[in-house]
Each structure stands twice: as structure tokens, then as C-alpha cells.
């Protein structure tokens, strides 16, 4: 098996091992969804229009949860040095880690997103579109989130720092992703919004490995 494959397997096992982090993120997302009706009132006329936006907000916040550990645990126990003295460049390590983050946390969250949206009163026939848009957006969240995690490496209270660095970068996918659902609910084609979402995600996937690897090297020096 190639070095990248074995790193990928290790990342998945670390994400799922020890406390089921991804399930925790899904539970967090459902809790946020349950709080909204209690805060804003249970009137369907109020909730249904904000259901897509709320589902995306919950998705963005839940995506932050496991980012802190992504590079920090390897930094703390010395494994990051090991990851840097191999034939795979750090950019490759970054891509593998971000992709594993998406697979381990982003996809379970994408499956939870329709549940949250429908619970808030979104029409049930938009469930598939919700999950697909959340899966695409989740890839962008994973890459920009991993960039935030790399930038916050070694900082005290890194988790909070990651949230502050990364949440502004999460705005475009939230706007486009929720926009796609709103358009679909109005019987308009969601494709333009999805295309913009996809463009953002591609941009994030292209830029963040380079910037993230530079941030990691800077911390190691």
C-alpha cells in the first residue's frame, strides 16, 4: 500500500477511534437545530423559511468541532516530525488529512443536514439536494478548516482561534449552499448556486494545501 493510503487509513482510524468524534459532531448539529424553535418560537411560518439557512449554520459550526485535533495531536506527540521526514511532501499530508476529515466528519454531517432541515419544516423532497449540497460544502469546510488548524498550530486555546480564523471563510459556502436550497424551494434551478459552491470548494482545495503546509513548516522551525 502506498504511503498516502496508509496515512489515510490511520487518519480515519484516529477520527473514529476514541469516543466517536464524528457522531459527537452530528449530535451537536441536532442540538443546535433543536434550540432554534425554542429560541424563535415553534411557528412553522417562522421556521420553514429559515430552515435551509439554519441547517447550513449548524453544519458550519459542527464542522469546526474536530478541527483542533487535526494537526495539534500530531504536533504534541511528535508525530508531525515523522510525517515531515518522508518521501511525501507536507502538502500531500495536508490533502490526505483534510480529505480524511471530510470523509470521517463531513459526510456524516451531510447525512444529518437533511434531518435538521426537515425537522425545521423544509419540504421533504429537498432532502437529497440538501445532503448533496452539504457534502460538497463539507469538502470546502474540511480544507479551509484544516488551513485554520494549521495556522493555529501550537497556539494556546487553538480551538477558539480556529473558529475565529475559519468562520469568516465559511461564509461563501453557507451563502451558496443555503441559496441553492432556497432557490429549489421556490421551484428555481439550484444549479447556479451549486456551481458557485463548487467553485469555492475547488478554490479552497487548491489554495489551502500550499498555505497550510507553509504554516506547519513555520511552526516546526
Amino acid at each position: 500500500m502506498s504511503a498516502l493510503g496508509i496515512l489515510f487509513r490511520r487518519e480515519l482510524s484516529l477520527a473514529w477511534g476514541g469516543g466517536g468524534g464524528p457522531l459527537l459532531a452530528c449530535g451537536f448539529m441536532l442540538c443546535l437545530t433543536a434550540i432554534l424553535p425554542l429560541a424563535a418560537g415553534a411557528d412553522a411560518a417562522i421556521l420553514a423559511p429559515v430552515a435551509p439557512g439554519m441547517a447550513w449554520l449548524a453544519l458550519a459550526l459542527a464542522s469546526l468541532l474536530s478541527l483542533e485535533k487535526l494537526f495539534e495531536r500530531d504536533f504534541e506527540d511528535g508525530a508531525l516530525d515523522l510525517l515531515s521526514t518522508a518521501s511525501v511532501p507536507l502538502e500531500g499530508v495536508f490533502v490526505v488529512k483534510a480529505t480524511a476529515q471530510w470523509l470521517a466528519t463531513g459526510l456524516p454531517l451531510a447525512l444529518t443536514a437533511p434531518v435538521a432541515a426537515i425537522a425545521l419544516g423544509q419540504p421533504a423532497d429537498l432532502a437529497l439536494l440538501t445532503a448533496v449540497a452539504a457534502a460538497i460544502g463539507g469538502l470546502g469546510f474540511a480544507f479551509t478548516g484544516a488551513l485554520g488548524a494549521a495556522l493555529a498550530l501550537g497556539a494556546k486555546r487553538g480551538g477558539l482561534l480556529i473558529a475565529v480564523v475559519v468562520l469568516p471563510l465559511f461564509i461563501p459556502p453557507v451563502v451558496f449552499g443555503a441559496g441553492a436550497l432556497v432557490r429549489a424551494a421556490q421551484d428555481l434551478s439550484p444549479v447556479p448556486a451549486l456551481a458557485l459552491l463548487g467553485a469555492y470548494v475547488l478554490f479552497a482545495c487548491a489554495i489551502s494545501p500550499v498555505a497550510g503546509a507553509a504554516a506547519i513548516r513555520n511552526t516546526q522551525g
Partner: protein, 199 residues
């Protein structure tokens, strides 16, 4: 062949050492000594390419430095790089394969360091010395010519200090090089390099 030429390293405002030059030939070991904070770890990390020196350079014979660092060098820091929640077997298998172990390399390392009884335990249940032995196993599983070791013996008992000494001797006999930061004498014949007191 490692050649360090007029290397100046600083951490923040503090200059650790200036114009340090030395070479390490194949089959040669260097014992780095010096007070706490003298820059032993920083020197090892500079050789491994993690720290950019203020001046001077580290070369690896005719090999491109990036290539030498990616395929030709092991850095074993004072952290072992093992995940507490995973078994020693899983961690060793990952580390060895990540560094490009040869087939049978892991078995050889397990044999040499008598790790068999530890393999199924979670790393967090191992003692510091046992963890160090698991970490040392990657040096045998994925053979690379240069070993950079940061206080490799400190958590080990007398028996394993001798055992790791034999492991180092075998590496040197096979044409490898070692730079080790130590407080106690190395168990193999080594050129001494003293970085002096804390700057």
C-alpha cells in the same frame, strides 16, 4: 556524509552558536553534549531541515538535501511520535510503512527489540522505556543511513541501553552515521562535540 559548515542558529533573539562546522563520515557517530538549552535539539532539527539556519548550511555529500531528508534520515526526538489510543502494533506498522519499510523490516525490528509482548497493548499503557523501544523500532524497520537521535537512551534501563548500543554499533558497522544528543556517554565509540553552556 553529513557536512555542517559555519552554521549559526538562533532561537528568537538568542544566538545558540555561531560558525559551527563539523562533518560526520559514514560509520561515524557524533555525541553532542552541552548544557540544557545549549542548542543540541535545535542543531538536530536544523540538520533535519526543520529549522532554517541564520547562516551556513548542511549538506549531504552529493545528495540533494531535500532528497536526503525525505529518504535518507531518521529523526527520533525526545517525543516518541506514538498515539496513546492505538496499539503498538498499529503505530509501528504505520510508522514503518510511512517511512518506506522493506518487506520483513517490521518483523526484524520486533525481534531485535523484543517488542512482541507489547504489540497488542495500547501505547498509553506502555512505560516510557517501552514506548521508546517501540519508537526505535522504526529505525530498524525502515533502514536509512542517517540517524539523528535526541537523548535516545534517557528512558531506557541498563539492559536496553546496552541493547540499543549494540543496535547503534550494527548501524555504524553497516556504514550508517549517527548524531546523538546525550548527557551520558554514548555506548559506542563517538566523536565528541560540545556545544558548551547555555548561551
Amino acid at each position: 556524509m553529513i557536512a555542517v559548515s559555519s552554521l549559526t542558529l538562533s532561537r528568537g533573539e538568542r544566538v545558540l552558536f555561531r560558525d559551527l562546522s563539523f562533518t560526520v563520515a559514514p560509520s561515524e557517530a557524533v555525541a553532542l553534549t552541552g548544557a540544557n538549552g545549549a542548542g543540541k535539539t535545535s542543531l538536530l532539527r536544523a540538520v533535519a531541515g526543520f529549522i532554517r539556519p541564520d547562516a551556513g548550511e548542511v549538506t549531504f555529500g552529493d545528495t540533494d538535501p531535500a532528497e536526503a531528508r525525505a529518504r535518507g534520515l531518521h529523526l527520533l526526538g525526545h517525543l516518541d511520535g506514538l498515539k496513546g489510543g492505538r496499539t503498538a502494533r498499529a503505530e509501528l506498522a504505520f510508522q514503518a510503512e510511512w517511512l518506506g519499510a522493506e518487506p520483513g523490516g517490521v518483523e526484524r525490528a520486533v525481534e531485535a527489540l523484543t517488542l512482541k509482548p507489547l504489540l497488542d497493548l495500547e501505547v498509553r499503557k506502555l512505560s516510557a522505556g517501552q514506548r521508546r523501544r517501540v519508537a526505535l523500532a522504526r529505525l530498524l524497520a525502515a533502514p536509512r543511513p542517517i540517524w539523528l537521535l535526541d537523548e535516545p537512551l534517557s528512558p531506557l534501563d541498563a539492559r536496553w541501553r546496552a541493547g540499543v548500543g549494540a543496535m547503534m554499533q550494527a548501524h555504524l558497522d553497516g556504514g550508517g552515521s549517527i548524531i546523538a544528543a546525550v548527557h551520558d556517554p554514548l555506548p559506542v565509540a563517538a566523536k565528541a562535540l560540545d556545544l558548551g553552556g547555555a548561551a
